[in-house]
Structures are given as structure tokens and as C-alpha cells.
Amino acid sequence: MLSRRTVLLLISGLGIAVLLAALVPQRVTSPDGLDALQAKAPFLVDALKAAGLDHVVSTWGFAFLLALCWLTLGLATLNMLRRDYRRTFRPRTWSGLSGWHVVGDRPGLEESMAALRYWAAGRIGDESRFLKNPWNLWGASLLHLGMLIALAFAVLTILTTARSMVVLVEGESLDATTQVVAQDYGVLASPLSLEEPLELASVTPRFWDDGSVRQLETVILLGDSAQQEQLTVSINGSRVVRGVRIYQDQRFGYSYFLTVAFPDGTELMQRADLSQPLGVGNPTYMDIPLQDGSVLRLKCVEDPGTQSMSDEPEFVLRRELDGEVVAQSTMTTDTVSLDDVTVRLDGRRRWATFVLAREWSVIPLFAGFALVFLGATALYVGVPREVRLRTDENGQTWARWNAYRFARSVDQERDALFGSDEEGSS
């Protein structure tokens, strides 16, 4: 499981799988790209689908590969932790190793080592031990442990996530015990439901001069009318309510409540949710097919004379039959006539979109990256080294220097302590 080849094969396999997910249009993240490819090369798309390459990261093969990587990472971390513990706290003697230098002036050498921030760390057998940057020995272990924790948390999140999107109009509410239909549902996720009524009280966007959104704030009322709690949610300013985090999505606009009256006396009541036009040149549209075969095309547009994007945009209605414009009017009063059809505006309110998700603590992820940071700094910034001194039966002192990694970067220190040439070995 832990052979070098296995580890490299697993990392490479993961890399190739992710690369495939980046290069081949994916069903979830790039449906338009997949459709375009289908139109150009249907046989290729059929082959990709048969191989599961249109949804690489949600295949069982990918999950299996990820599980193997995690297992290998776990075993490697365990091995490294044991190795670093042994090196730090239960080191062996170096007597059988080569590379010992003859020391002429032991007090002088110890003074030089102290100046270079080596500190005496006790004795092992007949050897005195001097260490520099010993905690950097733990770098690889911490780095791998951090990745292990982060990956475990990521998998746990995927398995237990329940997440949903909800569109509400000002004044509209979701009842208590409403079981929100979750769009993303992990294998171990339980149903996402509200414990108390949730009402959207107001939607307040703020805009930059060019019409782009600066911030979107909504006020939500929680609880029944007798005892309501007010909550303000904004983009990147989510709030947690009893384990469910409420996010403010960036999509919002106007809901127009319309009644369309036909010549035969029948009426059609319709709620039209149009997105907020972002700037003067960016109108938004919605089509409503009518019973007589014509289409009511609605347009929400910012007037070029608008002083502020917070002003209400113009609401334009056009009736089309077989692609030809039958009538068009801007809604400046409560009722407009489009040829023989009358449209009445019963109300206009803002709508906004929310994401509801079961709250997960980010502490494990934070702990994971904190360990990665500590581990990487210890592993690549500082070089742990050690000097052992021992005196043989003739009274001669011997010293051996070892850098646990990147020895070439600190060899001038060894040369400063013992000279560039080995004086001998025992």
C-alpha cells in the first residue's frame, strides 16, 4: 500500500482524473459545453457518457481512488509520526555509522555550536547530543496530517450535505416544518427542514455607478407573528438559525403580479419574476404564452435618465403573434391595453434567492490548513541538524554532524565547525 510506486500512481491517477474533469465538459458544471459537443460530435459524447467521463468526479471510480489516496495518506502520516517521534525522543546511537570527525578542542567546539544555536539535549549511551531546529523534524508529519484532516472533513461534508435554493417575494413566508427540497443531498444527509416560519420582509440592493451590484441586504422575520425575530442577511454575510445557514444569493429582481383579461371575459393571473437589470443597457426579459397563441413579452429596463439604480426600472409589455409585434406599452398606470387584451398590474414587489444549507463547522478545515502551514514551514524553511560528541577509551573526542534534509544548503555550517575535509572516522 505504501510503496513509492503506489503513492505516485495514486497522485498521478487523481491528477489525471481531475485533468479529465477540467478538459471534458461536465454534465453538472458545463451542461452547455456538453450540448455543444453533442451537436458537433454525437458519437464522441456517447462514448464519453459510456465511460462516465461526462461526470468524472461523481463516478464510483473517482470515489474509490479518493478513498485509496486517503488511506495511503493516513498510513504514510502514521509512519511519519512514528519516525519523527523516534528521532526526537528515542534516538539510537550513531556509534556504528561513519563520518566521525576528530575534535581537538571540545570546549571550543561546544562554544561554537552554542553560538550557532545548537543546544545540548542530553545523552544517548556514551554520546552527547546537540540539536538545532529539532521541531522542524516534524514538518513532513504535520504537513501530511493537515492534508489528512482537510480531506477527511471534505469527504464528511460531501456525505452529509443538504443544500437547497429558495426564491421568496417580499411578504412571502415558508411555514414551519417545511421540508425544503434539497438540491444537493449527501448519502448520509438528513432532510433539511425549518423549525419555525421564515418570512422575507424586505430586499434592499445597493448599486455602484455602473449599475453593478454593490451589496444586497434582506431582512428576514423568523417565528410566528406573535414573537418574531428579525435577521439581516447579505451577500457574504450569511446567518445561522438553529443549525441551518441562510445565504444571500446574488440573484434578485422584481415580481410583477399581473391579471391578463381576454376579450371573451376569461382572466389569467400570473406572477412574473424578472431579474434586476444591471445597468442601463442590460434589460431582463420573460415570456408568458397566452391562450390565444400570442406571447406576452415582458421587459424590465433601466431608464437612460435614471439617476440611481435604486429607482424602480421601467416595465415594458409587448404582445407578439407569430413573431410580429401586435402591441407594446410601458406600464405607467395600473392597466394597459395590448390590442384586445388588457393587462392589470395588481402589485409589484422585490424577490430574492437564498441558499439554505445545514451548518458545518469550518474548524476542522481551519485546523487542517493550520497544520499544513506549520508543517510546510518546518519542512522547507528550517533544516533540522544534530551533532553527537563522544570520547573514546584513549580520551580522544569524536564528533559527527547530520542534517536530516537539505544538507547541501547548510554544509558551510558543517565546514565552519569541522573544516571542509573529514579528518577521520571511527
Binding site: L8, V28, A154, V372, A376
Partner: protein, 276 residues
């Protein structure tokens, strides 16, 4: 006031480019013409260039009302600045590594010049651009880039081989220790990149309600991180070093560049709204 600051900033930015270019020319010229005086002068010009660059970034920050992390111009300038500062700090501690400036300074001034080419207009801050996680996310990617550039510089000099060592670096730095520098900074780039991804996922969680969405930017970022992982493991397991390892590192840095500056312009990316 804002308009004045932004106008002045572009000019100061150009002055910083010229100073970095001057430092690069002095360093390269000094090495190859064996004129130590020029090399010393390069060392004096760099702090001045960094100071002027800091002034430009400060003016940009004050003028635009937000940090330099929205447009490509701002990002390239911020990446270049951190790279230059990090390299200056390294050289301050180990002046033998000044030879890496032959690659680092040209990269820095080319990035800044490229930033000018992409346009210095100020863009408004999108509403998702807030919070401590965004700051940490951006900082770690900038650090990852800076460390990757320093690793790349070592790799590039290793690829030039012994000739360069004799002519220019022999007295200052051996190829073996350049190889260690490349390894260590490649390792730091891997770790910082990983932390950048993790903190980015926390930011995404607070902004969009999900940690990871396999967006092209996220996917290519993961590909880059895994490539760095392969680089570190072949070095560790199979003792790859020298030109072979240097070539692999250059591939990793190329992937990093594509992830940082190439993928965000893909139209189907959620990140496409940023870095315009």
C-alpha cells in the same frame, strides 16, 4: 482626489517598472561582463524600486477604495510586488542568492508591464469580495506565486548548467545548492497553494454556500497542486535532481500561471466575473 491618485499611480507604476528593469540589466550585465560594481548597484536599485512600487500600490488602494485584488492589472502588480519583496528578504539573509535576480527581476517587471497592457481601469468591488477568508485566500495564493517564481528562477539557472555557473555564479552559488533552493521553494509553493485552495473553499462556503463546485478555476488549481505534489514526491522517492527535476518544476509553474491568469477568463467559470 481619487482621480488624481489613480492618474499618479499609473505613472509611479511605470517608474517602478523602469527601476526593476534597470536592476535586472545591471545584474545580468554585471555578471556577464564581470563588473561587480554593476551588481552592487543593482542591489541598491531594488529597494528603491520596491519603495516606488509600494507607493503605486498604496495610491491605487487609496484611489480605488479597495485592495489590489480585483482586476488583472492589480493582481499582476500585487503578485510582482510580493515576489520582489520576498526575494529581497531572501537576498538580505543570503546574498549569495542574488544571482536568482537574473530571472526574478525580469519576471517582476514583465508582469507589471503586462498589467499595463491589460488596462489600468478601476473596477468596482463585487459584493462577494469581502471577509477575512478572502484576504487569507488571496495572501496565500500570492505567497504561493512568489515562492514558485523563486523556485522557477533556480530551475532556470540549473537548466543553463555549468557554463553559467562558471561565468556568473561560481563564486556565489553552486548548482547543487540552487537545486536545494528550487526543491524547498517548490515545496513552499505546494503548501501555500494548498492553503490558498482550502481558504478559498471556506470563502466560497460563505459567499456561495458551498465549499467546492468543480468550477474550471478550482479544478485547474487542484491539477496544479497535484502536479506540485508529484514533483515533490519524485524528488523525495526517486532522488530526482538537476535538469530533470528543474524541467518538471517549470511544467508545474506553467500550470500555476495558467490556473492564476488563464482559467479565470473562461466564460463558464463562476470566477469569470472577477479579474476582468
Amino acid at each position: 482626489m481619487s482621480a488624481f491618485l489613480l492618474q499618479a499611480e499609473t505613472r509611479v507604476h511605470v517608474v517602478a517598472i523602469v527601476l526593476y528593469a534597470l536592476a535586472a540589466m545591471m545584474l545580468i550585465g554585471g555578471r556577464f561582463l564581470r563588473r561587480p560594481g554593476l551588481v552592487r548597484w543593482a542591489g541598491n536599485v531594488v529597494p528603491l524600486a520596491i519603495g516606488v512600487h509600494a507607493l503605486a500600490l498604496g495610491a491605487r488602494w487609496a484611489g480605488s477604495g479597495h485592495g489590489p485584488y480585483v482586476t488583472k492589472y492589480e493582481m499582476l502588480s500585487a503578485y510582482a510586488f510580493v515576489t520582489a519583496v520576498m526575494f529581497a528578504l531572501i537576498v538580505y539573509r543570503r546574498d549569495r542568492l542574488q544571482v536568482l535576480g537574473m530571472i526574478v527581476y525580469p519576471v517582476v517587471f514583465l508582469m507589471m508591464a503586462l498589467g499595463l497592457y491589460t488596462g489600468a481601469e478601476v473596477h468596482n468591488l463585487p459584493p462577494t469580495f469581502s471577509g477575512i477568508w478572502l484576504v487569507i485566500h488571496v495572501c496565500f495564493y500570492v505567497l504561493a506565486f512568489a515562492t514558485a517564481v523563486i523556485a522557477l528562477s533556480s530551475a532556470a539557472l540549473i537548466l543553463r548548467g555549468k557554463d553559467l555557473e562558471l561565468e556568473a555564479t561560481g563564486r556565489f552559488q553552486s548548482l547543487e545548492s540552487l537545486d536545494d533552493i528550487s526543491y524547498r521553494f517548490g515545496g513552499l509553493a505546494f503548501a501555500f497553494w494548498g492553503i490558498g485552495m482550502l481558504t478559498g473553499s471556506i470563502w466560497a462556503y460563505y459567499s456561495w454556500g458551498r465549499f467546492w463546485g468543480w468550477d474550471p478555476v478550482e479544478t485547474w488549481s487542484l491539477v496544479t497542486w497535484l502536479a506540485f505534489g508529484i514533483y515533490l514526491h519524485v524528488r523525495r522517492f526517486y532522488a530526482w535532481e538537476g535538469k530533470r527535476a528543474a524541467l518538471l518544476l517549470i511544467v508545474c509553474v506553467a500550470l500555476a500561471l495558467f490556473s492564476l491568469f488563464g482559467t479565470s477568463i473562461l466564460s463558464d467559470s463562476l470566477h469569470a466575473v472577477y479579474f476582468q
